[in-house]
Protein backbone atom coordinates (compact mmCIF):
# COMPACT_ATOMS: atom_id res chain seq x y z
CA UNK A 1 0.00 0.00 0.00
CA UNK A 2 2.68 2.49 1.06
CA UNK A 3 4.70 1.63 -2.02
CA UNK A 4 1.78 2.47 -4.32
CA UNK A 5 1.20 5.76 -2.47
CA UNK A 6 4.89 6.64 -2.78
CA UNK A 7 4.85 5.77 -6.49
CA UNK A 8 1.87 8.08 -7.06
CA UNK A 9 3.42 10.92 -5.05
CA UNK A 10 6.80 10.66 -6.78
CA UNK A 11 5.16 10.47 -10.21
CA UNK A 12 3.19 13.61 -9.30
CA UNK A 13 6.34 15.40 -8.12
CA UNK A 14 8.11 14.33 -11.33
CA UNK A 15 5.43 16.00 -13.46
CA UNK A 16 5.43 19.10 -11.23
CA UNK A 17 9.21 19.39 -11.72
CA UNK A 18 8.82 18.96 -15.46
CA UNK A 19 6.17 21.67 -15.45
CA UNK A 20 8.37 24.08 -13.51
CA UNK A 21 11.36 23.47 -15.81
CA UNK A 22 9.11 23.91 -18.83
CA UNK A 23 7.72 27.24 -17.61
CA UNK A 24 11.27 28.50 -17.14
CA UNK A 25 12.81 27.10 -20.32
CA UNK A 26 10.23 27.39 -23.09
CA UNK A 27 10.69 30.34 -25.45
CA UNK A 28 7.39 32.23 -25.47
CA UNK A 29 3.98 32.83 -23.91
CA UNK A 30 2.03 30.05 -25.65
CA UNK A 31 4.63 27.31 -25.22
CA UNK A 32 5.08 28.27 -21.56
CA UNK A 33 1.36 27.82 -20.99
CA UNK A 34 1.63 24.28 -22.34
CA UNK A 35 3.54 22.85 -19.31
CA UNK A 36 1.62 25.14 -16.97
CA UNK A 37 -1.70 23.72 -18.12
CA UNK A 38 -0.89 20.07 -18.76
CA UNK A 39 1.85 18.99 -16.38
CA UNK A 40 0.49 20.80 -13.33
CA UNK A 41 -2.90 19.18 -13.86
CA UNK A 42 -1.39 15.71 -14.17
CA UNK A 43 0.98 16.29 -11.25
CA UNK A 44 -1.86 17.44 -9.02
CA UNK A 45 -4.02 14.52 -10.19
CA UNK A 46 -1.38 11.91 -9.34
CA UNK A 47 -0.36 13.40 -5.99
CA UNK A 48 -3.97 13.84 -4.86
CA UNK A 49 -4.80 10.25 -5.81
CA UNK A 50 -1.77 9.23 -3.76
CA UNK A 51 -3.05 11.24 -0.80
CA UNK A 52 -6.56 9.80 -1.16
CA UNK A 53 -5.10 6.28 -1.04
CA UNK A 54 -2.91 7.15 1.95
CA UNK A 55 -5.99 8.48 3.75
CA UNK A 56 -7.61 5.03 3.44
CA UNK A 57 -4.86 3.50 5.58
CA UNK A 58 -7.18 3.11 8.54
CA UNK A 59 -10.35 2.18 6.75
CA UNK A 60 -13.55 3.78 8.07
CA UNK A 61 -16.57 5.54 6.64
CA UNK A 62 -15.18 8.96 7.57
CA UNK A 63 -11.88 8.24 5.85
CA UNK A 64 -13.74 7.03 2.77
CA UNK A 65 -15.72 10.30 2.71
CA UNK A 66 -12.54 12.37 2.95
CA UNK A 67 -10.98 10.37 0.12
CA UNK A 68 -14.10 10.88 -1.99
CA UNK A 69 -13.80 14.63 -1.41
CA UNK A 70 -10.16 14.57 -2.51
CA UNK A 71 -11.17 12.69 -5.67
CA UNK A 72 -13.85 15.36 -6.27
CA UNK A 73 -11.13 18.03 -6.09
CA UNK A 74 -9.23 16.05 -8.74
CA UNK A 75 -12.31 15.96 -10.99
CA UNK A 76 -12.91 19.70 -10.75
CA UNK A 77 -9.25 20.61 -11.23
CA UNK A 78 -9.18 18.25 -14.23
CA UNK A 79 -12.06 20.25 -15.75
CA UNK A 80 -11.11 23.75 -14.69
CA UNK A 81 -7.33 23.93 -15.16
CA UNK A 82 -7.14 23.06 -18.90
CA UNK A 83 -10.11 25.36 -19.53
CA UNK A 84 -8.35 28.21 -17.77
CA UNK A 85 -5.24 27.62 -19.89
CA UNK A 86 -7.37 27.54 -23.00
CA UNK A 87 -9.01 30.83 -21.99
CA UNK A 88 -5.61 32.49 -21.49
CA UNK A 89 -4.36 31.26 -24.88
CA UNK A 90 -7.62 32.43 -26.47
CA UNK A 91 -7.18 35.88 -24.94
CA UNK A 92 -3.59 35.97 -26.23
CA UNK A 93 -4.70 35.10 -29.78
CA UNK A 94 -7.49 37.66 -29.68
CA UNK A 95 -5.10 40.33 -28.42
CA UNK A 96 -2.91 39.61 -31.44
CA UNK A 97 0.20 38.09 -29.85
CA UNK A 98 2.11 36.21 -32.56
CA UNK A 99 3.48 32.76 -31.64
CA UNK A 100 7.23 32.12 -31.57
CA UNK A 101 8.76 30.45 -34.60
CA UNK A 102 12.04 28.58 -34.95
CA UNK A 103 15.11 30.75 -35.27
CA UNK A 104 13.62 33.70 -33.42
CA UNK A 105 14.97 35.02 -30.17
CA UNK A 106 13.50 33.81 -26.86
CA UNK A 107 10.82 36.09 -25.47
Amino acid sequence: MDIIVCLFLFAGLFFFTGGAVGILRFPDFYSRLHPAGKLDTLGLLLSLIGLALFNLHHFSLGALLTSAKIILIVVFVFLASPTATHAIVDAGVRAGLAPWTKGEERR
Binding site: F76, L79, A80, T83, H86, A87, D90, R94
Partner: protein, 274 residues
Protein backbone atom coordinates in the same frame (compact mmCIF):
# COMPACT_ATOMS: atom_id res chain seq x y z
CA UNK B 1 8.19 66.39 0.58
CA UNK B 2 9.71 62.94 0.36
CA UNK B 3 11.89 63.64 3.41
CA UNK B 4 8.84 64.78 5.42
CA UNK B 5 7.10 61.52 4.49
CA UNK B 6 10.15 59.51 5.54
CA UNK B 7 10.34 61.29 8.90
CA UNK B 8 6.63 60.73 9.55
CA UNK B 9 6.93 57.05 8.57
CA UNK B 10 9.92 56.53 10.85
CA UNK B 11 8.20 58.33 13.74
CA UNK B 12 4.92 56.42 13.47
CA UNK B 13 6.71 53.12 12.81
CA UNK B 14 8.97 53.66 15.81
CA UNK B 15 5.95 54.45 17.97
CA UNK B 16 4.24 51.26 16.79
CA UNK B 17 7.31 49.12 17.50
CA UNK B 18 7.68 50.79 20.91
CA UNK B 19 4.02 50.06 21.69
CA UNK B 20 4.29 46.48 20.40
CA UNK B 21 7.12 45.83 22.85
CA UNK B 22 4.59 46.17 25.67
CA UNK B 23 2.41 43.34 24.32
CA UNK B 24 2.38 40.13 26.30
CA UNK B 25 4.62 37.47 24.77
CA UNK B 26 3.18 35.02 22.24
CA UNK B 27 1.17 32.26 23.92
CA UNK B 28 1.88 33.68 27.37
CA UNK B 29 -0.48 31.71 29.64
CA UNK B 30 -0.72 34.63 32.07
CA UNK B 31 -1.66 37.29 29.50
CA UNK B 32 -5.08 38.88 30.01
CA UNK B 33 -6.41 37.39 26.76
CA UNK B 34 -5.76 33.79 27.72
CA UNK B 35 -6.63 34.00 31.43
CA UNK B 36 -10.12 35.36 31.14
CA UNK B 37 -11.79 35.45 27.73
CA UNK B 38 -10.35 32.56 25.72
CA UNK B 39 -11.01 29.86 28.35
CA UNK B 40 -14.59 31.06 28.58
CA UNK B 41 -15.09 30.68 24.81
CA UNK B 42 -13.29 27.34 24.67
CA UNK B 43 -15.13 25.80 27.60
CA UNK B 44 -18.58 27.38 27.44
CA UNK B 45 -19.34 27.86 23.72
CA UNK B 46 -20.83 24.41 23.29
CA UNK B 47 -23.15 24.61 26.30
CA UNK B 48 -24.12 28.24 25.71
CA UNK B 49 -24.80 28.19 21.98
CA UNK B 50 -24.60 24.50 20.94
CA UNK B 51 -22.30 25.44 18.05
CA UNK B 52 -19.21 23.20 17.75
CA UNK B 53 -17.24 25.74 15.72
CA UNK B 54 -16.04 28.33 18.25
CA UNK B 55 -14.95 30.76 15.54
CA UNK B 56 -18.45 30.97 14.10
CA UNK B 57 -19.99 31.36 17.55
CA UNK B 58 -17.61 34.20 18.46
CA UNK B 59 -18.07 35.88 15.08
CA UNK B 60 -21.84 35.77 14.81
CA UNK B 61 -22.99 35.55 18.41
CA UNK B 62 -20.55 36.92 21.02
CA UNK B 63 -19.30 39.63 18.68
CA UNK B 64 -22.30 39.96 16.41
CA UNK B 65 -22.35 43.73 16.67
CA UNK B 66 -18.90 43.88 15.09
CA UNK B 67 -19.93 41.49 12.32
CA UNK B 68 -23.10 43.47 11.60
CA UNK B 69 -21.04 46.54 10.82
CA UNK B 70 -18.59 44.47 8.75
CA UNK B 71 -21.58 43.54 6.60
CA UNK B 72 -22.51 47.21 6.45
CA UNK B 73 -18.95 48.05 5.33
CA UNK B 74 -19.31 45.60 2.42
CA UNK B 75 -22.70 47.09 1.55
CA UNK B 76 -21.28 50.62 1.58
CA UNK B 77 -18.38 49.46 -0.63
CA UNK B 78 -20.94 48.32 -3.20
CA UNK B 79 -22.87 51.57 -2.96
CA UNK B 80 -19.64 53.60 -3.23
CA UNK B 81 -18.57 51.78 -6.41
CA UNK B 82 -22.06 52.32 -7.83
CA UNK B 83 -22.03 56.06 -7.07
CA UNK B 84 -18.51 56.57 -8.42
CA UNK B 85 -18.75 54.54 -11.62
CA UNK B 86 -22.33 54.20 -12.80
CA UNK B 87 -23.06 56.47 -15.75
CA UNK B 88 -26.55 57.09 -16.98
CA UNK B 89 -26.17 58.26 -20.53
CA UNK B 90 -28.97 60.64 -21.25
CA UNK B 91 -28.62 60.09 -25.00
CA UNK B 92 -29.04 56.54 -26.22
CA UNK B 93 -26.69 55.55 -29.04
CA UNK B 94 -28.42 56.06 -32.38
CA UNK B 95 -27.96 52.59 -33.78
CA UNK B 96 -28.69 49.38 -31.89
CA UNK B 97 -27.26 46.00 -32.83
CA UNK B 98 -29.18 42.76 -32.52
CA UNK B 99 -28.13 39.18 -33.10
CA UNK B 100 -30.45 36.34 -34.05
CA UNK B 101 -29.54 33.61 -31.52
CA UNK B 102 -30.21 30.57 -33.71
CA UNK B 103 -28.60 31.67 -36.96
CA UNK B 104 -26.05 34.19 -35.65
CA UNK B 105 -27.20 36.86 -38.10
CA UNK B 106 -26.53 40.34 -36.76
CA UNK B 107 -28.41 43.44 -37.76
CA UNK B 108 -28.16 47.13 -37.09
CA UNK B 109 -31.24 49.24 -36.50
CA UNK B 110 -30.79 52.96 -37.00
CA UNK B 111 -33.74 54.18 -34.99
CA UNK B 112 -36.10 52.58 -32.53
CA UNK B 113 -35.69 49.13 -31.08
CA UNK B 114 -36.99 45.57 -31.33
CA UNK B 115 -39.59 44.35 -28.85
CA UNK B 116 -37.97 42.06 -26.25
CA UNK B 117 -38.00 38.45 -27.42
CA UNK B 118 -36.02 35.25 -26.94
CA UNK B 119 -35.02 35.04 -30.61
CA UNK B 120 -32.92 38.19 -30.64
CA UNK B 121 -30.30 39.34 -28.16
CA UNK B 122 -29.00 42.85 -28.03
CA UNK B 123 -25.25 43.13 -28.58
CA UNK B 124 -22.63 45.86 -28.71
CA UNK B 125 -20.23 46.84 -31.46
CA UNK B 126 -17.33 45.18 -29.65
CA UNK B 127 -19.15 41.85 -29.36
CA UNK B 128 -17.09 38.72 -29.89
CA UNK B 129 -18.58 35.22 -29.88
CA UNK B 130 -18.01 33.49 -26.52
CA UNK B 131 -15.63 30.57 -26.81
CA UNK B 132 -17.45 27.22 -26.97
CA UNK B 133 -15.07 25.29 -24.68
CA UNK B 134 -15.05 27.95 -21.97
CA UNK B 135 -18.81 28.38 -22.24
CA UNK B 136 -19.53 24.65 -21.91
CA UNK B 137 -17.17 24.03 -18.99
CA UNK B 138 -18.48 27.08 -17.13
CA UNK B 139 -22.07 25.96 -17.60
CA UNK B 140 -21.03 22.56 -16.26
CA UNK B 141 -19.19 23.93 -13.23
CA UNK B 142 -21.41 26.81 -12.10
CA UNK B 143 -24.13 24.65 -10.46
CA UNK B 144 -21.47 22.78 -8.46
CA UNK B 145 -19.84 26.04 -7.40
CA UNK B 146 -23.19 27.37 -6.24
CA UNK B 147 -24.05 24.21 -4.31
CA UNK B 148 -20.65 24.40 -2.66
CA UNK B 149 -21.34 28.04 -1.75
CA UNK B 150 -24.63 27.08 -0.10
CA UNK B 151 -22.86 24.24 1.72
CA UNK B 152 -20.22 26.63 3.04
CA UNK B 153 -22.91 28.99 4.35
CA UNK B 154 -25.00 26.25 5.94
CA UNK B 155 -22.09 24.24 7.31
CA UNK B 156 -20.42 27.17 9.07
CA UNK B 157 -21.57 25.79 12.42
CA UNK B 158 -19.46 22.65 12.09
CA UNK B 159 -16.54 23.42 9.79
CA UNK B 160 -14.65 26.44 8.49
CA UNK B 161 -17.07 28.58 6.55
CA UNK B 162 -19.92 30.97 7.04
CA UNK B 163 -21.70 33.82 5.38
CA UNK B 164 -18.74 35.79 4.10
CA UNK B 165 -16.93 32.85 2.50
CA UNK B 166 -20.07 31.28 1.05
CA UNK B 167 -21.26 34.63 -0.27
CA UNK B 168 -17.97 35.19 -2.04
CA UNK B 169 -18.18 31.72 -3.63
CA UNK B 170 -21.74 32.38 -4.82
CA UNK B 171 -20.76 35.79 -6.17
CA UNK B 172 -17.75 34.27 -7.95
CA UNK B 173 -19.98 31.71 -9.67
CA UNK B 174 -22.02 34.55 -11.18
CA UNK B 175 -18.86 36.44 -12.16
CA UNK B 176 -17.67 33.27 -13.94
CA UNK B 177 -20.90 33.37 -15.94
CA UNK B 178 -20.23 37.01 -16.81
CA UNK B 179 -16.68 36.24 -17.93
CA UNK B 180 -17.56 33.17 -19.99
CA UNK B 181 -20.57 34.75 -21.70
CA UNK B 182 -20.93 38.50 -21.33
CA UNK B 183 -22.35 40.97 -18.86
CA UNK B 184 -25.69 41.25 -20.64
CA UNK B 185 -26.31 37.55 -19.99
CA UNK B 186 -25.91 38.13 -16.26
CA UNK B 187 -27.97 41.31 -16.19
CA UNK B 188 -30.77 39.48 -17.98
CA UNK B 189 -30.89 36.91 -15.14
CA UNK B 190 -30.00 39.16 -12.24
CA UNK B 191 -30.86 42.78 -12.89
CA UNK B 192 -29.06 45.72 -11.40
CA UNK B 193 -32.10 46.61 -9.33
CA UNK B 194 -32.30 43.10 -7.87
CA UNK B 195 -28.60 43.29 -6.99
CA UNK B 196 -29.01 46.55 -5.14
CA UNK B 197 -32.17 45.49 -3.35
CA UNK B 198 -30.72 42.14 -2.24
CA UNK B 199 -27.59 43.87 -0.91
CA UNK B 200 -29.76 45.95 1.36
CA UNK B 201 -31.99 42.97 2.22
CA UNK B 202 -28.96 40.98 3.43
CA UNK B 203 -27.94 43.73 5.83
CA UNK B 204 -31.58 44.14 6.85
CA UNK B 205 -31.90 40.43 7.72
CA UNK B 206 -28.92 40.76 10.03
CA UNK B 207 -29.99 43.98 11.71
CA UNK B 208 -33.62 42.86 11.75
CA UNK B 209 -32.74 39.66 13.64
CA UNK B 210 -30.99 41.81 16.23
CA UNK B 211 -33.91 44.20 16.44
CA UNK B 212 -36.34 41.29 16.80
CA UNK B 213 -34.43 40.14 19.89
CA UNK B 214 -34.80 43.69 21.23
CA UNK B 215 -38.56 43.58 20.59
CA UNK B 216 -38.87 40.21 22.33
CA UNK B 217 -37.47 41.69 25.51
CA UNK B 218 -33.75 40.85 25.60
CA UNK B 219 -30.61 42.70 24.50
CA UNK B 220 -29.88 43.59 20.88
CA UNK B 221 -28.47 40.46 19.14
CA UNK B 222 -29.19 38.15 22.09
CA UNK B 223 -30.57 35.32 19.96
CA UNK B 224 -31.92 33.34 22.91
CA UNK B 225 -34.89 35.72 22.73
CA UNK B 226 -35.84 34.02 19.44
CA UNK B 227 -36.74 30.84 21.36
CA UNK B 228 -40.41 31.78 21.54
CA UNK B 229 -40.53 32.55 17.78
CA UNK B 230 -38.63 29.46 16.60
CA UNK B 231 -40.25 27.05 19.11
CA UNK B 232 -36.91 25.71 20.43
CA UNK B 233 -35.09 26.08 23.73
CA UNK B 234 -32.95 29.25 24.20
CA UNK B 235 -29.65 27.46 23.55
CA UNK B 236 -30.81 26.00 20.22
CA UNK B 237 -32.27 29.43 19.41
CA UNK B 238 -28.79 30.94 19.60
CA UNK B 239 -27.56 28.32 17.13
CA UNK B 240 -30.45 29.02 14.75
CA UNK B 241 -29.99 32.78 15.15
CA UNK B 242 -26.39 32.41 13.97
CA UNK B 243 -27.63 30.57 10.86
CA UNK B 244 -30.17 33.31 10.10
CA UNK B 245 -27.61 36.10 10.27
CA UNK B 246 -25.13 34.03 8.24
CA UNK B 247 -27.73 33.74 5.48
CA UNK B 248 -28.17 37.52 5.58
CA UNK B 249 -24.41 38.03 5.35
CA UNK B 250 -24.23 35.55 2.45
CA UNK B 251 -26.90 37.38 0.44
CA UNK B 252 -25.30 40.76 1.06
CA UNK B 253 -21.78 39.61 0.13
CA UNK B 254 -22.91 37.75 -3.01
CA UNK B 255 -24.85 40.69 -4.41
CA UNK B 256 -22.15 43.20 -3.54
CA UNK B 257 -19.58 41.10 -5.41
CA UNK B 258 -21.76 40.96 -8.52
CA UNK B 259 -22.69 44.63 -8.23
CA UNK B 260 -19.07 45.78 -7.93
CA UNK B 261 -17.97 43.48 -10.76
CA UNK B 262 -20.62 44.67 -13.20
CA UNK B 263 -19.87 48.32 -12.49
CA UNK B 264 -16.10 47.95 -12.74
CA UNK B 265 -16.01 45.64 -15.77
CA UNK B 266 -18.33 47.75 -17.93
CA UNK B 267 -17.15 51.16 -16.68
CA UNK B 268 -20.56 51.75 -15.19
CA UNK B 269 -22.43 51.37 -18.49
CA UNK B 270 -23.79 47.83 -18.11
CA UNK B 271 -23.09 46.85 -21.69
CA UNK B 272 -20.65 44.27 -22.93
CA UNK B 273 -18.42 43.90 -19.93
CA UNK B 274 -15.00 42.35 -20.30
Amino acid sequence: MKITGLIVTILVGGLLIYAAADFPAWSDPNSPASTYLSPHFIEKTMEETSVPNIVTAVLADYRSFDTMFETTVIFSAGVAVFILLRTFRRKEPEARHYRHVLTGVTMRIKEGKLPPSDDFERIDTLWTPPDLIIKTVCRLLIPFIQIFGLYVIAHGHHSPGGGFQGGVILGASIIVLAISHNLRTVVKRMSEKLDAVLCAVGVLIYAGTGALCLLLGLNFMDYSALASVLFVDPIMARSHGILIVEIGVGIAVMCTMVWIYSNVSSRGRYEQGL
